[in-house]
C-alpha cells in the first residue's frame, strides 16, 4: 500500500509550485546570459553606442553647403547679392572664374550648386523686369537639393528686404508669411530623429536578444531535456521572456537617459506613458524574436530571418526617417504590420509634444494588439512535442 501513497505525494505535492519552477528557469537563463556576455553587450552596450553614433551621425540639417559663385561682371550690386549668401550660415560660397570651372566642380561633387550672375546684372536689376539669376543644383540627393533650394530662396528674400530698405523704388512683397513651428521651433532634425532612433534600436535589441534562444536549445538538444521535466510550456516561454524583458528595459532606460542628457531632446510627456509604451513595444519585439526562434529551430536560419525582418523594415517603414504619409497606399498598409511604426509615433509625440491622447491611445492599443498577437502565436506554435 505504500508505493501508491508515495506516488500520490509526488504528484500532488511536487517540490515547489509553478512560481518556483519559473524562478528556476529564469535563474538558468540569467546564468546563460552572464556566461555568454554577448547578451549583456546587446542590452547595454549596443543602445548607447548606436545612439551616440547615429544621434550625431544622422542629420538632415544641411549647413555650410559649398556653392560655386560665378560673377561675370563684378561690381557693388553683385557684391551685395553675393554677401547675402556669404552671411548665411547655410552656405559656404566659393568664387569661381567662369561657368566651365563651376560645372566641373559640380560634376566632381566639390560643390552642391552654382549661383550664376550674368553680365549687366547691375543694369538689368534696375530695369522693370529685374535681373535673372541662374541657380544650378545637384539634384541627385533630391531632399538636400530641395532644402538647399529653400535656403537659396531665403538668402534671396533677405537680399530683397535689404534692397527695399535702402531704396524706396524697390517694393516690399504684398503678403508676408509668419511662420510658427510647433514642438521644434528651430527645426533641428536631431530632435526628430533621436526619439525614432530609440524605437529602431529597441527593435534590434528585442529581436537579437530572443531570436537565438529557443533555436539554440533545439540545436543543442537541451530543449528536449526541458520537455521531459514537469515545467509547462508557458513556463518555458515566460522563463525566456522575463529575463530578456528586464535586460531590454535596462537598455531602454539607458537610451532615454542618453537622449535627454546628451542630446538635450526635450521630454514633454510623462515618464509613465513613456515606460508603459516601451514595455508594450518591448513585449512585441521580444515576442517577434521568440517567434522567429521557435519557427526556425536552427540558429543559422533564425539569425538570417532576424537580420531581414528587423533592421531594414524598422529603419525604412516605421516613419522614423521617411514620412509614412508620403508613401503610396499599399505601402502604408504594410507599415501597419511593423510594431516600430506605432512606437515611433508615440516616442516622437511624447518627447516633443507631450501626452497627446489622440496619438498615444490608438498607437498604444495597436502595440498591445501586436504584443498579444506575437505572444499568443508563440504559445500556439510551441507544443511539448518533438519534431
Amino acid at each position: 500500500m505504500n508505493p501508491p501513497a508515495f506516488e500520490n505525494t509526488s504528484q500532488h505535492a511536487p517540490r515547489g509550485g509553478a512560481g518556483q519552477r519559473l524562478r528556476g528557469l529564469i535563474r538558468k537563463e540569467f546564468l546563460q546570459i552572464v556566461r555568454d556576455p554577448s547578451s549583456i553587450a546587446i542590452a547595454f552596450v549596443m543602445p548607447v553606442v548606436l545612439l551616440l553614433l547615429f544621434g550625431y551621425g544622422l542629420s538632415l540639417d544641411a549647413e555650410h553647403v559649398p556653392l560655386a559663385v560665378v560673377v561675370e561682371e563684378p561690381d557693388a550690386d553683385t557684391a551685395s547679392f553675393v554677401a547675402a549668401f556669404q552671411h548665411s550660415r547655410y552656405f559656404a560660397p566659393v568664387a569661381m572664374a567662369n561657368m566651365a570651372e563651376a560645372e566641373q566642380a559640380l560634376q566632381a561633387r566639390r560643390v552642391n550648386g552654382i549661383v550664376h550672375l550674368r553680365e549687366n546684372f547691375a543694369r538689368q536689376r534696375r530695369s522693370a523686369g529685374g535681373a535673372p539669376v541662374q541657380i544650378i543644383l545637384n539634384g541627385v540627393d533630391a531632399n538636400t537639393a530641395r532644402l538647399v533650394q529653400g535656403y537659396v530662396t531665403g538668402a534671396w528674400e533677405t537680399w530683397l528686404a535689404h534692397e527695399a530698405q535702402g531704396d524706396a523704388a524697390t517694393p516690399h512683397p504684398p503678403v508676408v508669411v509668419e511662420e510658427r513651428v510647433w514642438f521644434n521651433s528651430e527645426l533641428r532634425s536631431r530632435d526628430f530623429l533621436v526619439p525614432g532612433l530609440i524605437a529602431v534600436i529597441m527593435t534590434l535589441i528585442g529581436a537579437l536578444l530572443t531570436a537565438m534562444v529557443m533555436a539554440r536549445e533545439w540545436e543543442r538538444g537541451t530543449l528536449e531535456a526541458l520537455l521531459v521535466t514537469p515545467v509547462a510550456i508557458q513556463e518555458i516561454l515566460l522563463g525566456k521572456l522575463i529575463p530578456y524583458f528586464i535586460l531590454g528595459t535596462g537598455g531602454m532606460i539607458l537610451s532615454v537617459v542618453a537622449a535627454v542628457g546628451l542630446f538635450e531632446i526635450p521630454l514633454r510627456g510623462s515618464l509613465l506613458v513613456l515606460f508603459t509604451a516601451s514595455s508594450l513595444f518591448l513585449l512585441a519585439a521580444l515576442g517577434m524574436g521568440l517567434l522567429i526562434s521557435i519557427l526556425a529551430k536552427n540558429q543559422f536560419v533564425a539569425g538570417q530571418v532576424a537580420i531581414i525582418v528587423t533592421f531594414l523594415p524598422a529603419f525604412i517603414l516605421s516613419g522614423f526617417i521617411f514620412d509614412i504619409a508620403s508613401m503610396p497606399g499599399p505601402i502604408q498598409f504594410i507599415t501597419h504590420f511593423i510594431p516600430a511604426r506605432y512606437f515611433v509615433a508615440i516616442l516622437q509625440t511624447v518627447f516633443l509634444a507631450g501626452d497627446v491622447p489622440g496619438v498615444i491611445v490608438p498607437n498604444g492599443a495597436a502595440l498591445l494588439v501586436m504584443a498579444a498577437f506575437f505572444l499568443g502565436l508563440n504559445r500556439l506554435k510551441s507544443r511539448k512535442r518533438l519534431g
Binding site: 516690399h172 514642438f183 536560419v301 525604412i316
Partner: protein, 369 residues
C-alpha cells in the same frame, strides 16, 4: 587546387541552399524589400493635410487660399473657426499645417501695408515641416507676383531661375533606389558569410576542414566565392529592377558599375568572413553582423548626407565600404560618371576587402576553439 576549391564551393552551396527556409530567406526577401522599400523610402511630400482659419471676408484672402487648394502638394482637411480648435488638430496630427489669415488681411493689402499670413506647422518631423514650409512659401510667392502685377508694381530686382541637374524633377526615388542596391546586396552577403564559419565552429565541422589538406587560402576562397556569386546575382537582379521597374536612368557604363559591384562584394565578404571567424558562437556572429550592418548602412550616406555629420564621424565613415559604393551607384546611375572619376572610390574598397580577407584567413588557423 581548383578542383578542391570547386568541391568546397559545392559543399558551401549545399549548406546554404539545402534547407528550404534558408533558401527562401536568401532569395525572396531582397526582391520583396526592393519593391516595398523602393516605394516607401521617399522624402517627396504630396497631399500635405492643412487646415484653413480664415477671419477675413475679402476676395483677396479667398484668392490666396485658392492657391493652396489648386496646389497638388496640399489637401484641405479641416476648417477652423476659433483659436481653440487649432491645437487639437496639430497635436493629433490631423493636419500638418494651419494657414491663418487675420481679419485685417484685405485691408492691409489694399492700403499697401504688409499683409500677414500666419502659418503654423507641426515640427515633430522636422524634414517634412521644412519641405511643407517651402511649399507654403512658393504658393505665397506666386500670389505675390500676381498681386504685384495687378497693382502695377515693378517686379523684384532679381529673380531666381533654379534648375536641378541630374534629377530634374527632384524625385527622391531616383536617389534612394540606387542606394538600395548597396543596402540589399550588403544584407545578402552578410546573411551568407557572417554565420558560416561560426556555424561550422559550433558544429565541430570546421576542425575537420582544418585537418584536410586544404590550405587556409583555399578554405577562404571556398567560403568567399559562394557569397560572391550570390551577391553578384542579386545585385544584378536589383539593378535590373531599378532600371526596368522603377525607371531610374542608368547613364554610366556597365563596366564601371560592375567594377564597383565586384570591389564592394570583395570588401563586404571580407568583413563578413572576418566577423564569422572572430565569433565563437552563432549568437556572437549574429551580433557582429548587426554591429557592422547597422552603422554601415546608417552612416553610408544612404538616407542622410555624410556632409551633415560632425567631422569626426565623417572621418570614421572612411572605413565604411558602403559609403564608397553609394557614391559609385548614384554616379553611375544618375550622373553617368566616367570610370576615371571614380577611382578614388574604388581603391579604398579594395584595401578594406584585402585587409579583412587576409585577417579572416589568418584567424582560421589561429582560432581553434
Amino acid at each position: 587546387m581548383w578542383q578542391r576549391i570547386l568541391a568546397l564551393i559545392a559543399k558551401e552551396f549545399l549548406a546554404l541552399l539545402k534547407d528550404p527556409r534558408s533558401r527562401f530567406v536568401i532569395v525572396v526577401p531582397p526582391l520583396v524589400q526592393l519593391l516595398v522599400f523602393g516605394y516607401a523610402a521617399t522624402y517627396d511630400l504630396n497631399d500635405i493635410p492643412y487646415a484653413v482659419y480664415n477671419e477675413d471676408p475679402g476676395a483677396d484672402a479667398r484668392e490666396l487660399l485658392a492657391g493652396f487648394r489648386l496646389s497638388r502638394h496640399f489637401r484641405e482637411s479641416a476648417r477652423v473657426l476659433h483659436d481653440a480648435e487649432i491645437a487639437p488638430l496639430i497635436d493629433n496630427r490631423t493636419v500638418l499645417v494651419v494657414v491663418h489669415i487675420g481679419p485685417r488681411f484685405s485691408r492691409d493689402l489694399a492700403t499697401g501695408a504688409p499683409a500677414r499670413v500666419q502659418v503654423l506647422v507641426d515640427g515633430r518631423d522636422s524634414n517634412t515641416a521644412l519641405l511643407a514650409l517651402g511649399y507654403v512659401r512658393s504658393v505665397v510667392n506666386r500670389f505675390n507676383v500676381e498681386t504685384a502685377a495687378r497693382l502695377g508694381q515693378p517686379r523684384p530686382p532679381a529673380q531666381l531661375e533654379t534648375r536641378p541637374w541630374f534629377n530634374p524633377n527632384l524625385e527622391s526615388r531616383w536617389f534612394i533606389v540606387p542606394g538600395m542596391v548597396a543596402l540589399l546586396t550588403l544584407v545578402v552577403t552578410m546573411l551568407v558569410t557572417a554565420l558560416s564559419v561560426a556555424r561550422e565552429r559550433e558544429q565541430g565541422t570546421f576542425d575537420q576542414l582544418l585537418v584536410t589538406p586544404f590550405r587556409p587560402v583555399e578554405i577562404l576562397l571556398g567560403k568567399a566565392l559562394p557569397g560572391f556569386i550570390i551577391g553578384a546575382t542579386e545585385s544584378s537582379a536589383i539593378c535590373l529592377a531599378a532600371v526596368l521597374w522603377f525607371k531610374v536612368p542608368l547613364l554610366g557604363s556597365l563596366l564601371t558599375l560592375y567594377t564597383g559591384i565586384t570591389l564592394f562584394l570583395v570588401s563586404a565578404i571580407g568583413v563578413g568572413l572576418m566577423i564569422s571567424s572572430l565569433a565563437v558562437t552563432q549568437q556572437q556572429g549574429l551580433l557582429g553582423a548587426f554591429l557592422f550592418l547597422v552603422p554601415a548602412i546608417i552612416l553610408s550616406g544612404f538616407a542622410t548626407p555624410i556632409a551633415n555629420m560632425p567631422p569626426i564621424l565623417q572621418k570614421l565613415t572612411l572605413i565604411n565600404p558602403v559609403r564608397y559604393f553609394m557614391v559609385i551607384l548614384r554616379g553611375v546611375f544618375l550622373e553617368g560618371t566616367p570610370f576615371h572619376l571614380l577611382i578614388d572610390q574604388f581603391w579604398p574598397m579594395a584595401v578594406i576587402g584585402a585587409v579583412n580577407l587576409a585577417g579572416a584567413a589568418w584567424l582560421f588557423r589561429r582560432r581553434l576553439y
